[in-house]
């Protein structure tokens, strides 16, 4: 098992390295120079050049890539530290370490996505089971209609509708963002309530969208398991229907969902990027758009790196979890 994990991580790190090359190449393909967004005519030529030297922008793209990676630091100690030394670099736009910028935005995104995932899983799995047990009867039909709507509803459109009704018309909820203007005066509990109010619309929208897929998958798995012979055996030996479903069928139907949990882990990071931009939610999605606009390469590259690392770790975590819950799976 340990050998398997080490092998997986080794190949994954090569793959991640390749993906950083891909993203750096795409970034360098885009026209314009980094950091030029906030340069105005009053700045002297010397200042601009000094800034470029500070961020290493006057060097060749290959050197820039290796500097970011930290290979240059290994060769020469006076070069800036890079990813290999655990340093994400300097943000050109914010004039701060990238790690500081990311840490200031990450909690908002994580909160949103963690709450969404909790809601989704606690609602979707019971609904999927319920639909499977009542296949082709009205609850199943109602749920399949709802999941069609959920799958097809664009998140930005649903968010705009909810904000129109609840924020603009009824004025029960705030019109997007993360905190109100008077947030600092509300005290602890008032502040919490304020956060919660801002989270309602994005959480509802994301949950509704994710629910559809997960509910359908749970239902499909459950139906497949219910057709197995050991279920017939369990029924034939006179077990109660609830025992058959919850003890025998459910345990096997849940296994494939573990794989999806791995993807959810990766989605924690970038899953809500579009919605964040539409409702003006100050998370990672907005940050990456600003960084791309400013061609802030260390920030963009580090964000992509974190995203791919989370995808790899999520998948590995899901595989290990699957081996743990399902004795038939082994990676020896």
């Amino acid at each position: 098992m340990r050998a398997y994990i080490i092998r997986r991580l080794f190949f994954a790190s090569i793959l991640i390295l390749l993906s950083t090359v891909v993203s750096f190449a795409i970034l360098k393909l885009s026209p314009g120079k980094a950091g030029r967004e906030d340069i105005n005519p009053r700045m002297s030529q010397e200042y601009v050049l000094q800034q470029e030297r500070l961020f290493g922008l006057n060097r060749s793209p290959v050197t820039q890539y290796f500097t970011w990676l930290g290979v240059m630091h290994c060769v020469k100690a006076e070069e800036p530290r890079g990813i290999l030394q655990g340093d994400l670099g300097l943000s050109i736009k914010y004039k701060q370490p990238v790690s500081t910028v990311i840490v200031s935005r990450l909690p908002a995104t994580l909160w949103l996505n963690v709450i969404t995932i909790l809601f989704t899983w606690f609602v979707a799995i019971p609904l999927g089971i319920w639909a499977a047990v009542r296949q082709y009867r009205w609850p199943d039909k109602l749920l399949s209609g709802m999941s069609f709507t959920g799958m097809s509803m664009p998140s930005f459109f649903m968010a705009l509708i909810l904000l129109w009704i609840f924020a603009s018309h009824l004025q029960w909820l705030p019109p997007g963002g993360l905190r109100s203007l008077d947030h600092s005066e509300l005290g602890f509990w008032g502040g919490m309530l304020d956060f919660a109010k801002h989270l309602i619309v994005p959480v509802v929208v994301l949950t509704f969208g994710a629910l559809a897929g997960l509910q359908r998958i749970t239902r499909g798995n459950m139906l497949e398991v219910l057709r197995e012979q050991y279920i017939t055996t369990a029924r034939a030996k006179g077990l109660s229907e609830s025992r058959v479903i919850y003890k025998h069928a459910l345990r096997n139907a849940i296994n494939p969902l573990v794989t999806i949990l791995g993807f959810e882990f990766a989605g924690l990071f970038g899953g809500a990027a579009l919605l964040e931009n539409v409702i003006n939610y100050p998370g990672m999605g907005q940050l990456i758009l600003e960084a791309l606009r400013a061609k802030d390469q260390s920030l963009v590259m580090s964000t992509f790196l974190i995203g791919s690392v989370m995808l790899v770790l999520g998948n590995l975590f899901a595989e290990l979890l699957l081996a743990w819950v399902d004795p038939r799976v082994s990676y020896a």
Binding site: L15, S19, L160, L292
Partner: protein, 386 residues
């Protein structure tokens, strides 16, 4: 008695002539799929809007009346104090300045402007060829037509520049409804090519191509979409932007399909019936065309159909963020930019209409994809209700 009637129906209707081809079986199965057919007719209606868009739309997409900014959907009346009319009519609008010096749109209830069908409107090319002024409907001009009096029929209200939202939805349908078809055909070509080469050639080529697919798939999708957008300059004309957006979406979407096609080519290549065909002496090309491709077709059709919503949503998202199709060219995505100011939204909620059309288009493709999946699934027993 019951035994006598229990003859399997197969014996009664013995097949005449050639047996049904898999495609005709799938076609009949799809015809019976209620959700699939519903989606099919929904899409047909939307494509009718694409083809006849400029005939159905009462106005040109750029035809604006600044005075009618945020004008609500025009009320269509059949009767007023002067009596009832069979022909529907609308009232003209006039701008007035109230005591607080705010400009207000006031209806002039003294005169009726009748709705006319097949009437003269803005010039357009019918079906893209025939120059004509005839449009499906329009309204009469008010008596004292000029700079202050306007009779317009705005079925879904007006946007920030006083343009007809319904007309712009008609014209915008061209973008959303075609971008998926073009984008997914592009991905199909890339996917078949790379997946086919990868699966057929194998070895080192396969290894390199697969690692490249995986490296692209590791990047968070929406972030990659945004990053690719910035490769293109921001000031492009709308046709260039359209093709740039298609290219971007295809570049994000190809690895998934390429991987699946590779897997299918690998598994089909080793099957017994392919070996048998080879043993009989059939040359490779007919084998691929007659035996390998038909087996991937079902999956490919379904996955391509189900990928189209992704393109529609991708274009809308980019346009909504101001990175896709630019004003004044209408697209359903960039029209929704009018709704981004949430505080003001309650004063003109009709700017949300384009979102409904995005939803319908996405749902149409999802429904058809669902129907096709069931119809093309060889494991499904057709005709038997499960």
């Amino acid at each position: 008695m019951p035994e006598a009637t229990a003859i399997p129906p197969i014996l009664e209707v013995a097949p005449k002539g050639r047996p049904d081809s898999p495609m005709s079986i799938a076609y009949r199965a799809f015809r019976r799929h209620r959700i699939g057919m519903l989606g099919f007719w929904l899409l047909m209606a939307l494509y009718l809007l694409v083809i006849l868009g400029d005939f159905i739309a009462p106005y040109d997409p750029d035809n604006q009346v600044r005075e009618l900014q945020w004008s609500p959907p025009t009320g269509i009346h059949f009767s007023d104090a002067a009596g009832t009319s069979i022909r529907p009519f609308v009232y003209p609008y006039r701008n007035e300045i109230d005591e607080n010096f705010n400009v207000k749109q006031v209806q002039d209830r003294t005169q009726r402007c009748y709705v006319r069908f097949f009437t003269q409107g803005d010039e357009h090319r019918f079906l893209g060829i025939l120059p004509t002024k005839v449009r499906l409907f329009g309204v009469d001009k008010p008596v004292n037509a000029g700079t202050e009096n306007f009779a317009r029929i705005y079925l879904m209200g007006a946007d920030i520049s006083g343009r007809d939202i319904f007309s712009r939805i008609c014209y915008g349908s061209r973008i959303s409804m075609t971008i998926g078809l073009i984008g997914s055909s592009l991905v199909l070509v890339i996917g078949l090519l790379i997946g086919g080469i990868s699966g057929y050639v194998g070895g080192m080529t396969d290894n390199i191509l697969q690692r490249l697919c995986e490296a692209v798939m590791l990047l968070p999708g929406f972030y990659l979409l945004l990053m690719l957008r910035f490769v293109f300059p921001s000031d492009m004309d709308s046709v260039t932007v359209y093709f740039a957006v298609v290219t971007i979406l295809a570049l994000v979407g190809w690895p998934g399909l390429a991987r699946v096609i590779r897997g299918m080519v690998l598994s089909i290549r080793g099957r017994d019936y392919i070996q048998a065909a080879r043993a009989v002496g059939i040359s490779p090309l007919p084998i691929i065309i007659r035996h390998v491709l038909p087996n991937t077709m079902g999956y490919v059709i379904v996955s391509v159909t189900l990928s189209i919503p992704g393109y529609i949503l991708g274009e809308s998202a980019l346009s909504l963020l101001g990175l896709g199709i630019m004003e004044p060219t209408p697209s359903w995505g960039n029209m929704l930019q009018n709704a981004m100011d949430i505080v003001e939204l309650d004063q003109h909620p009709w700017v949300l209409w384009p979102g409904l059309f995005i939803f319908l288009a996405v749902m149409g493709f999802n429904m058809v994809g669902d129907g096709l999946r069931d119809a093309l699934d060889p494991k499904q027993v057709h005709g038997a209700k499960q």
